[in-house]
């Protein structure tokens, strides 16, 4: 995109010379025309703004990848708008065709501009300063001073002075031409090339990387294979064999919340002590897993990204046999960890049992119904509705462990027709009406949500970004300048030293001063003091 920049830039004295050749007819001419349009600065600007605009809806409309629940809520709340949004990709803006089109076009435009410019720069890097123009007075900055007739080495001193100021200098018989600031364009090119490499890094990560999460109950473990993931997404080039065969056991998990008056309930500490086994049979090692301190196991990183409660319950059926016993992972619904889940006892006989349950770490029962008022387990309680039905044929179909499919089940009701509601504290048990069985809250444990992933392109992107920032600084802070100095005959017995300067970036200050200072400096001969 910046090739045109040079062409259109009025600051560039080499000037906008419109190319006389017109696009030829036919498809080749058409293509060339399209290419010129695409790589023009104006198109790049428009694409930049289109990108900024297109990114906005994704921050205001819920996104499926970030919060699928809020997306389905949105669709339910907006029956007309929801499906339209869905169709045009508003719920997955950043992978939608229109968003992709904009940034791909932008990058094509970028590449189309860098390539010719690299060529131009490769020539310019060895270029000498332009020859001294005939008329220095016409330059934006100009100063002149009289010098002594016998001062023959003034141009040599000028060359030294300019070289000391990091100019590239050519000395002619009656003048000196100097230029500096070649790094500006280099920085510019480095920056834009880095952006392309950044995109490549991101693409590598998207193709070869994977990321998934797994909920692990404290005391239990995770071993890295696909069956253990709760959700998993991977790039097209990823294969299951890429998963390193490690396992992680969560031994305990510390969590602390603010109990003071300010920000009460805000998290203050999450820390899991884990045991990592790199591969089956290897010696396990102890590690601490914290927010901001992920585990690195080979090339895979393990992050701690969430936690919650798993009440331990025991369900007995009508015959008095234990139909279910153990911790049940429940999903937090709010910042006070009001947690929702289902307890299923498909093996209960003669009728299977299921419970829609609410676990409250600090339970309060008031007009709003049961809810939790603090995220830590200060007064844990379990509230549940009961469902029962004939045994189901084992189909082997996976079902959602967090929600209850009430098909084939009926809700257990009291004699007055109200649903049976169970409220249990730790250690409490209750017999279900009609001798359907019993349920007991044995205690609770915490669970942690681990995110396991590998994004191979990250180092490439990171290095590219380092170069991008460095290049950007060069391209913005290096200010190219040209200076010419000429000696010509003035009044008899005198000669005139002329200094002219030109800035090639419009943000440079002090050109006039520099030129004047240079003139003043050169007019003073070192030995002048002694001769007068």
């Amino acid at each position: 995109m910046t090739a045109i920049k040079a062409r259109e830039s009025a600051a560039d004295p080499s000037g906008p010379t419109p190319r006389p050749e017109l696009p030829r007819l036919g498809w080749r001419g058409g293509l060339r025309y399209l290419w010129t349009q695409l790589t023009s600065m104006r198109t790049a600007l428009i694409l930049l703004f289109a990108l900024a605009l297109a990114a906005i809806p994704g921050s205001l409309v819920p996104q499926r990848r970030i919060s699928p629940v809020r997306v389905s809520d949105f669709i339910n709340e907006h029956p007309t708008l929801g499906p339209i949004y869905d169709k045009i990709g508003m719920f997955s803006v950043y992978s939608s065709p229109w968003f992709s089109a904009i940034y791909l076009l932008l990058f094509v435009s970028l590449v189309g501009c860098i390539i010719p410019r690299v060529g131009v720069y490769a020539k310019a890097i060895r270029a000498r300063p332009p020859k001294t123009p005939r008329n220095l007075v016409r330059l934006p900055a100009y100063a002149h001073t009289d010098i002594a007739d016998g001062d023959h080495d003034v141009l040599d001193r000028a060359a030294v002075a300019l070289r000391r100021r990091h100019y590239r200098v050519d000395v002619y018989s009656d003048s000196v031409a100097a230029e500096r600031g070649y790094l500006r364009e280099a920085g510019n090119l480095v920056f834009h090339i880095s952006l392309v490499i950044l995109l490549i890094g991101v693409a590598i990560g998207a193709l070869f990387g994977f990321r998934g999460t797994s909920v692990v109950i404290v005391g239990q473990g995770f071993s890295n294979n696909l069956t253990q993931y709760d959700d998993f997404s991977a790039g097209g080039r990823f294969t299951e064999a890429d998963l390193a065969p490690f396992s992680v056991t969560v031994k305990d998990f510390d969590v602390k919340f603010e109990t003071g008056p300010v920000q009460r309930g805000a998290a203050r500490l999450f820390r899991a002590n884990v045991e990592v086994t790199e591969r089956p049979g290897a010696v396990p090692r102890e590690e601490v897993l914290q927010v901001n301190k992920p585990l690195h196991i080979g090339g895979t990183t393990v992050h701690l990204i969430g936690h919650g409660y798993a009440p331990k319950v025991t369900v007995k059926d009508a015959q008095g046999n234990v139909a279910f016993s153990g911790p049940i992972v429940m999903l937090p619904q709010d910042s006070n960890f009001t947690s929702l889940g289902t307890i299923k006892a498909p093996d209960a006989r003669p009728e299977r049992l299921a419970f829609e349950a609410l676990f409250l770490p600090t339970a309060v029962l008031d007009d709003q119904g049961p809810h939790s008022i603090f995220p830590d387990a200060l007064n844990p309680a379990l509230f549940a509705n009961v469902w029962y039905g004939p045994p189901k044929v084992e189909t082997g179909k996976p079902e959602n462990v967090y929600s209850l499919d009430s098909a084939g089940l009926s809700q257990l009701k009291q004699t007055d027709g109200q649903p049976v509601r169970i409220a249990l504290k730790v250690g409490d048990g209750v017999n279900l009406p009609d001798g359907k069985g019993s349920i007991q809250l044995d205690g609770w444990v915490r669970w942690v949500k681990l995110q396991i992933g590998d994004t191979p392109g990250v180092p490439i992107s990171l290095i590219a970004l380092g170069f991008a920032v460095a290049g950007l600084c060069l391209s913005l802070f290096v200010r190219p300048r040209r200076v010419w100095i000429r000696v010509r005959d003035g009044e008899p017995g005198h000669r005139v030293l002329e200094v002219g300067g030109l800035d090639r970036a419009d943000a440079r200050a002090g050109l006039t001063d520099d030129v004047a200072e240079l003139a003043a400096q050169l007019s003073r001969r070192p030995e002048e003091v002694s001769t007068t």
Partner: protein, 323 residues
């Protein structure tokens, strides 16, 4: 607890003093108008400001600065102006004190929430203005900067205020310091640059109409304002790039992904893209000047929306306002 009390006292006082400074500058301009100044705007060469300053480059042509035209003839105007500067310095010291005491009260870097971020950014904004005032004498920036500082600190102590509290675990990281300081400094520069772009548009319009009067008369030429605005934004842009990069690195540590299209991240990118557009526009024929200035102002609006709108209206991982 005492530290927190005195921190709040200092910050509230700073708001009052900034408002007074703003009145003094307003009086300065009003007085200048009444004296019917018709002399041309000061034509001093503004050198080595902006980006160059902040990299502490030697100021070139300093002696030239001393040959400026005398600023203004009326002693009343001068008196009000000096008063404004003096009040600004007092306000600045109070605001620095407020931030330092806040840090002492919290026993950590004072950048944990929106309130703390705002008071820190205001210190940077006024600090930069005072440095520029000292090096190049741009007192014409006094009115908008004191207005900005009064509004910023005013919002902080009234709307954004939260009492001292420890940080949530996600903020326990060195990137917390790096990311947020870079954001505060580049934010300060975006703000000053944005204010200048607004001044540029006003001055440019007056110049085009040939009706440069009062306050506008004492501003430098629109071309010069544009140049200074550019220097601020050219300084802020790489730093903002770095802010976003540092944020991405931190996100990789904290959340296991370097980019997740969180609303804050999205708007940081939108802001970045708009300012990238500004820099490109400035070197495109037909986009320089007014259009570029408008883009810079849109960029500033996007920055503010990202800061206030996203923090308060949209829920995301960066919802750290704590209000």
């Amino acid at each position: 607890m005492r530290y927190e009390y005195y921190s709040n006292l200092a910050l509230v006082s700073s708001v009052v003093v900034y408002v007074l400074a703003m009145f003094a500058h307003a009086a300065e301009w009003a007085a200048a108008r009444r004296t019917g100044q018709t002399e041309p705007a000061t034509t001093r060469e503004l050198v080595g400001v902006g980006a160059a300053d902040m990299r502490s480059e030697p100021v070139e042509g300093r002696d030239h600065v001393s040959v400026e035209t005398p600023p203004i003839s009326s002693p009343r105007v001068e008196q009000f102006g000096r008063m404004g500067v003096a009040l600004t310095i007092i306000g600045f010291l109070l605001s620095v004190t407020g931030v330092l005491l806040r840090a002492l009260a919290a026993q950590r870097a004072p950048w944990g929430n929106m309130f703390e971020f705002t008071i820190t950014a205001m210190v940077f904004i006024v600090g930069v203005y005072l440095i520029m005032l000292w090096r190049t004498g741009i007192r014409w920036l006094g009115l908008p900067v004191t207005l900005l500082a009064a509004v910023g600190n005013g919002l902080a102590v009234t709307v954004f205020y939260v009492a001292v509290a420890p940080l949530v675990p996600a903020l326990h990281s060195v990137w917390f310091l790096i990311h947020i300081v870079a954001a505060a400094i580049s934010g300060a520069a975006f703000n000053v640059g944005g204010v200048m772009s607004i001044l540029y548009l006003i001055k440019r319009r007056a110049e085009d109409r040939g009706a440069v009067r009062g306050y506008l008369e004492r501003l430098p030429s629109s071309r010069k304002i544009d140049l200074i605005a550019y220097r601020f934004l050219a300084f802020a842009f790489p730093l903002w790039t770095f802010t976003v990069v540092a944020g991405a690195i931190w996100a990789e540590y904290a959340w296991g992904r370097y980019w997740g299209w969180d609303p804050k991240e999205t708007w940081a990118l939108v802001t970045w893209v708009i300012y990238a557009g500004y820099l490109h526009a400035r070197s495109t024929a037909g986009w320089r000047g007014t259009r570029a200035a408008v883009i810079a102002i849109i960029g500033l609006a996007s920055f503010w929306f990202n800061f206030i709108g996203i923090n308060l209206l949209v829920s995301g991982l960066h919802s750290y306002a704590g209000i």
